[in-house]
Symmetry: C2
Subunit: 250 residues, 2 copies
């Protein structure tokens, strides 16, 4: 019995879904809607249990689902917090450059090109864009000190990232993901990388101060926001001999 008073806030559960599943969905929507900012705490389990009219354990199962999704994080004795998303320089995990000693790890970033253009069919598909929609394409060089180490091509769907068109890239800082969040309200939540090897083209080689045809590691990334939409396509290239990637299998 018990759904308590009468209408618990928008949880229609017995539709093929468990009650905690319904509560998880409801919480997910409230998180994505921005009701609780990333990094802030959601109400206590006991409060949620009461407001949804369920037992504590049920709300705990709902939260467990969202924790597994990476949307929430628990902290014993403190509370349950909205995840702050993928932080900084995750791309550098893949590359080991000798400039590893110094404390300041993130290499500097320089935008060398930016333009808007019509989305290609593949891009329309992954971004879910209508025919005729546009994308922003960025070319970017990352360097340790005076030494360039990575070149990147970044493609973003225009409707979402329009704020980037009008601002000065020199003000963007070294990391894109925090920029996405602050300027465009887009929080990168997870990504899929495909690693392969190729040879540098003339332009890329010049930017990296290597010869054309030099072996390079290529990381093609699709990045997703918290709702699972793909919101960024990125291709990163760097010296193959400086590349190393660690993965855990099951």
């Amino acid at each position: 019995m018990a759904q308590a008073a009468s209408p618990p806030p928008a949880v229609r559960n017995p539709l093929g879904q468990s009650r905690y599943g319904g509560i998880a969905s409801a919480l997910r929507e409230r998180i994505l809607s921005g009701e609780w900012a990333p990094g802030s705490a959601i109400p206590a389990e006991s409060a949620l249990a009461q407001s949804y009219g369920v037992a504590l354990g049920t709300v705990r199962q709902a939260i467990a689902l969202l924790v597994e999704d990476g949307l929430l994080e628990r902290q014993q004795g403190k509370g349950t917090f909205v995840s702050a998303g993928l932080a900084g320089a995750s791309m550098l995990r893949f590359f080991r450059f000798r400039s590893r000693e110094a404390g300041a790890e993130a290499p500097a970033s320089r935008i060398v090109a930016r333009r808007a253009r019509p989305a290609e069919p593949v891009e329309r598909a992954v971004f879910g864009l209508a025919p005729g929609a546009q994308v922003i394409q960025l070319e970017r060089v990352r360097s340790f000190g005076t030494e360039p180490c990575l070149v990147e091509t970044v493609v973003l769907p225009l409707p979402l990232f329009g704020a980037l068109v009008d601002s000065d890239p020199d003000d963007w800082g070294d990391l894109l993901y925090p920029l996405y969040q602050q300027r465009c309200g887009v929080l990168i939540h997870q990504a899929e990388d495909i690693v392969s090897f190729a040879q540098l083209g003339a332009m890329q080689a010049r930017r990296l101060r290597l010869e054309a045809g030099h072996p390079c590691a290529v990381v093609r990334r699709r990045a997703f926001d918290r709702s699972g939409r793909c919101v960024e396509l990125r291709t990163t290239r760097g010296d193959a001999f400086a590349f190393e990637y660690t993965a855990h299998v099951r």
Copy 2:
């Protein structure tokens, strides 16, 4: 039932560990000891709860831990089963060769060398071997049809894999992990891969029908059994330009 009365079977919990943690450890030991064969069912949750003298929910939490570890698998309405370990061509789940479309089939395997030798210091360390202990080293070529695509060097601690010394490699089949399990009772449970880039040596190049110095992708794998011991070191090399590796980021 039985053990109920007073002393639950060997669960010393209030020592920094939760009760379900203690039960999980106890179950882990019983699984690793072979009390229940891989693929078979463990006792029902209710039976375990009774025999350990705890509530159902507690045993469920213990089982959840082992499921997360990959040691157990639940099946609704049927039971909880001991995991059968990393199945067949797990190596190829994560990297593949573009020359092959749709081909989910494992490439054929040919052992081209096998010898026992003293373990090097690094190997003694990762395998936990005593000074003077030996290892088996295998050289292996994997091919699609008549076309070789991968060369592998596999190093195994001898005490565990002695059964492989006396048998004929032609009888081994294309996959090593099932062989380990059937001949040596070793079940590979998880692994760590390190991907990097190098150039082929003369011998490797000849086996792959490429020129020496040709760019190659290198995957160094450490594989672990269910108790977390490292039981295999493997280095796989193949044409860098046919290589592709997929990884999920958080």
